[in-house]
């Protein structure tokens, strides 16, 4: 295993940034999370996401097909929780309805695509984005491109094992983690408001 001190930081990192996994960043175990390439507790990462989302000038959520389509039990509930988070944090939402390279081009004002996520980020001047409900493979393809060419801070909330290529990533995300994140945002917002 490479024991590098590679950090997954906000870009633009360059022409072709490496996969963080190939630079020695490993995925967290259950109950843990990744912040900028280092393994931390899930609580710490949630706190950090809440901070970052509130600090951002133009934060966006990017829900993917697993959440945009009401295809199985539990999706609607999870989507509602994501919507609540967005409303509270004051973020806008741009969907990733599917993964196809779209012909002739996407409308970057209203959608995002994993093959060229940078177009949507540049167009809307997005400085913070949160992926949720995107199949892991396509999320990783997109997250590296974002790190390479934009200055957007990336979060990946994953239902499986997490994402090294996001600046912050939670694994096994369900309603409980979403509730904690919303609560952290509310708490920090309250502090900020006083």
């Amino acid at each position: 295993m490479l024991e590098s001190k590679y950090q997954v930081l906000v870009g633009p990192e360059g022409y072709l940034p490496p996969a963080a996994a190939s630079m020695g960043v490993t995925l967290p175990e259950k109950g843990q999370a990744l912040v900028e390439g280092s393994i931390v507790s899930e609580e710490e990462a949630i706190e950090k996401i809440a901070q970052k989302i509130l600090e951002a000038k133009n934060p966006f959520l990017f829900p993917g097909p697993l959440l945009l389509w009401d295809w199985k039990e539990g999706v609607a509930e999870k989507a509602k929780a994501v919507k609540e988070l967005a409303d509270l944090a004051g973020t806008r939402i741009i969907p990733m309805p599917d993964y196809r390279p779209k012909y002739p081009m996407i409308n970057p004002a209203v959608e995002i695509n994993p093959n060229h996520p940078n177009l949507t980020i540049w167009h809307n001047k997005i400085d913070f984005c949160l992926f949720i409900g995107v199949h892991c493979h396509y999320a990783n393809v997109a997250l590296k491109i974002i790190r390479g060419g934009t200055d957007c801070y990336t979060i990946a909330l994953c239902g499986e094992a997490g994402h090294e290529d996001a600046m912050i990533s939670l694994r096994d995300v369900g309603l409980a983690q979403l509730a904690s994140l919303t609560e952290a945002v509310a708490r920090l917002k309250g502090v900020a408001g006083k």
Binding site: M1, W69, R100, N115, L119, H135, H137, G148
Partner: protein, 381 residues
């Protein structure tokens, strides 16, 4: 179907009481597949692989596997296996030598498509001239397909690696194909003691809903989905998408390291690591090295052994660390190109201490004496 109890991988691999059987490598494959809860297996004959897939056919007839057929050639078989995997079932196949090369286009395609296929490769020589005899040359070509590669030393390894390969391949963060390689004839056609888990237990079934890509079944979102879409327009955006996709396949192999550690006890096994002379080998070259080390010991020479079990991902850091302490590193191989020697040379700091010998090929056995000769030479330098 035969009644089998579904148990966790940990129960099956580490807790269930095993029974010792005296069986061939081909039979070890059969025993592994019995417990692997495989949905479909597709076969095509080629020596020395055929017998293993005959035996898999037999257990299909007994009810251990739901579907089995013989395809029309290796390229077609690897394509059918890909179709089945995209539909969201667990599949198994095997080939070797010329069959591997006939099918070659499909291996990077499997990886790029994130298909958790397990394929056993019973290695043999490659034409021309025609030979059916053991030779590990085909593994050189497989190193950069994006597949994970495990190399079995003996029947026990083959049994454990095939069975565990399904679990490693199907991890949502890995989810790339695994090739389990065994040296044809030396492993497939010889009998050895193999400890086998009870055949009335099997792994949990594959869950396509945890996959990093959607199954092609019209039950999984998104419904507007091509596996896999063309990313080939002539612009930087397309190149960047393709590049990121390729990097993700390499990343998947990196993520497999921890699962190989926990399930197979590591990417390597080391004996006597502080010795001045180290042998680094994989497959049956490890067994020959063990013999040679015994002989060298009787001459008062202390030699360490590094058995590489996983070639992809490659134990780069471990090899670098181990080689740094040694005076010489001997790499015996069953092929003419010395692919393991190349791999080791890319990992170590000082390549001058790497001895790419002995090498035998074309079906030759490797008399341990050849390795002892190298040990003596290194000791006298």
């Amino acid at each position: 179907m035969i009644e089998q109890k579904v148990v966790t991988p940990e129960q099956l691999f580490f807790e269930a009481e095993r029974e010792e059987q005296f069986i061939t490598g081909s039979e070890a494959i059969r025993e592994a597949i019995k417990s692997a809860n495989v949905d479909m297996a597709i076969s095509y004959p080629i020596t020395p692989q055929s017998e293993s897939m005959h035996l898999v056919g037999d257990i299909f007839a007994e009810g251990y596997i739901k579907e089995y057929f013989r395809g029309e050639n290796e390229f077609a078989v690897m394509s059918s296996v890909a179709g089945a995997a995209m539909a969201g079932v667990r599949v198994f196949t095997a080939t070797g030598g010329p069959g591997t090369l006939r099918a070659f286009e499909m291996f990077p395609t499997w990886s790029g498509s994130r298909l958790p296929i397990v394929c056993a490769f019973m290695t043999r020589g490659i034409n021309s001239p025609l030979t059916i005899q053991p030779d590990t040359l085909e593994m050189a070509y497989m190193l950069d397909t994006g597949m994970l590669m495990l190399h079995a030393e003996n029947g026990q390894d083959l049994y454990d690696m095939v069975l565990k390969a399904f679990v490693i391949a199907e991890k949502p963060d890995v989810h790339v194909p695994v090739g389990v390689f065994a040296d044809g004839f030396f492993v497939t056609h010889t009998r050895d003691k193999v400890n086998i888990a009870p055949a009335d237990m099997k792994l949990p079934s594959y869950n396509p809903n945890c996959a990093p890509v959607p199954a092609m079944d019209m039950e999984t979102v998104p419904f507007r989905q091509m596996r896999d879409p063309f990313v080939m327009k002539s612009n930087f955006i397309s190149y960047a998408a393709h590049a990121s996709w390729q990097q993700e396949i390499l990343a998947a192999a990196e993520r497999a390291r921890k699962y190989i550690d926990s399930l197979l006890g590591g990417l390597i096994e080391v004996e006597n690591e502080d010795a001045d002379i180290l042998i680094i080998a994989s497959g049956t070259a490890v067994s020959q090295s063990r013999e040679a080390i015994q002989q060298a010991k009787s001459e008062g020479l202390s030699v360490g052994l590094v058995k590489i079990k996983s070639l992809r991902p490659f134990p780069t850091e471990q090899i670098r660390r181990l080689a740094a302490k040694a005076k010489a590193v001997i790499i015996p191989e069953f092929n003419r190109v010395g692919w393991l020697c190349r791999e080791v040379k890319t990992a170590v700091d000082d390549t001058t201490k790497v001895v790419g010998a002995p090498r035998v090929f074309g079906g030759m056995t490797m008399p341990p004496q050849l390795i002892v000769d190298e040990i003596r030479r290194c000791a006298n330098e």
